[in-house]
Symmetry: C2
DNA sequence: TAATCAAGTGTGAAATCAACACTATTTTAG
DNA sequence: CTAAAATAGTGTTGATTTCACACTTGATTA
């Protein structure tokens, strides 16, 4: 178990000795948490990037993140970073993948646990979205700058995950305001998948998934409201909402 | 970005300073890799566990694993541990999840990157499977002992992943010998899902999936052989094999 | 007030899924 | 050696799901 050496042959005595070793005695990598934060803004899928203030990769854009603290869970760490960057803390958050190639940070060995967060645009105050005090900016996923470290890889991974998750879960709900029209919901899918969907089939699938999913845990309910969109739209425009917003989807 | 402190307000000068900090200066957790190794043995789904030789959790069973080395990728680390435990190194290996709750190891902060490995029973030499030099043993997933650390949680997670992966990929191929009958393949599914499948539907789905999947990357081909099983079976027994065994499935 | 724009709604053909039973061949037991 | 037992192998039907496809209604805007 507690084998710090590659040597495959050890006497029982050696094994017992090694097993008692304190893990704190060994070389340890740094561990960071990076968060891919997606939102839908201006009819486009955007990701939040921050500009690096110092080397390495000075002035390049990067996924926000930081070192974990010793008494903090990975998820708490991700939430803390997220709050620091966006001011928001009620979001969908999911662990994505852990990247740990030895050369990925030129300074030292850094292992990063990547998270995926979805936040709804209206939760962002204009200050956070626009301010450059922290020099953070939303980028379209289809017009990205060169990224620091292996962050392009992480982003690719995140997009892939988001797309496939959209197929069999209700994560899209996290990207839509409290009240919305079905057309707005459809746009979310179209933007993320980058393809046009058929309106009638989309609505049909929604009600079918609705019925199937309701039997499960982590419920939600697509609820038709009596209200109608105040202004700015055409035709009859029913509003909907999700009565039980999903806190978190296990997988 | 490179913020080791929680203090959310920093002057630009402070930020620039922090950005230059060497990550090696900070508190670092220990990082381990744990591997959930599944195989099918005796008509049952088994996982390899090792008995702990020292505290904490002395004498309890645990998922094999160990500390990563500083110049080794996470995957290489997992492969090394796998080879040490089983002698096998040509296996399906997939990153599962990273567990990092502060209290999960009583000694110090230990973050573990869990991997899932599938190995085919015939690749195991009787020595590794039976020897207790390393005190490793295969346990049925349906008759597990109490496990050290949060390893039960990791195992639950792994089983869940395996089951769902079986639905939309061909990972089962990793658990079957070079040549096999369709009935044997079906048993793999039945054992893992813990439910009986319809023979005709199973075979039909196989050929359908076959046709669909072949268009993709990471191809495989279910190939019918002229041979027949030498002995020990009833009826006509066609043998099959996968002509291009899958190295690795991305997800 | 006429023209434009998006909302909203149903059907049929094709593919997929789920349930279901018998015959042929080999092994094993008497 | 012959009968009984065990497993291999094979299609059809009805139900469900998927996909393609077009017109009417109502609000906005010129």
């Amino acid at each position: 178990m507690t084998k710090p050496k590659t040597n495959p042959l050890e006497t029982p005595a050696e094994q017992a000795f090694l097993a008692q070793y304190n893990p704190a005695d060994y070389d340890r990598p740094s561990v960071t948490v990076d968060i891919v934060i997606f939102t839908i803004l201006d009819n486009d899928l955007k990701v939040l990037l921050v500009r690096r203030k110092g080397p390495p990769y000075q002035d390049m854009w990067a996924i926000p993140g930081g070192f974990i603290e010793m008494n903090e869970s990975l998820e708490a760490s991700a939430l803390r970073e997220l709050k620091e960057e966006t001011g928001v803390d009620q979001v969908y958050l999911e662990q994505l993948y852990t990247f740990g190639e030895p050369g990925r940070d030129p300074r030292t060995r850094v292992i990063t646990v990547a998270y995926l967060a979805l936040i709804e645009a209206s939760q962002l105050t204009p200050v956070q979205a626009g301010s450059d005090a922290a020099e953070a900016k939303w980028f379209s996923l289809y017009a990205l700058p060169d990224l620091a470290f292996d962050h392009q890889l992480i982003l690719d991974y995140a997009l892939q995950r988001l797309r496939s998750k959209l197929e069999y879960t209700n994560v899209a709900f996290q990207l839509v305001p409290e009240k919305f029209t079905l057309t707005e919901l459809q746009r979310i899918y179209e933007i993320i998948w980058h393809e046009k969907l058929d309106k009638r089939n989309f609505r049909k699938r929604l009600t079918i998934r609705e019925l199937n999913s309701t039997k499960q845990d982590g419920d939600y309910m697509l609820e038709e409201l009596a209200e109608t969109r105040p202004g700015g739209n055409y035709g009859p425009t029913k509003l909907y909402r999700f009565s039980d917003r999903v806190e978190k989807i296990v997988r």
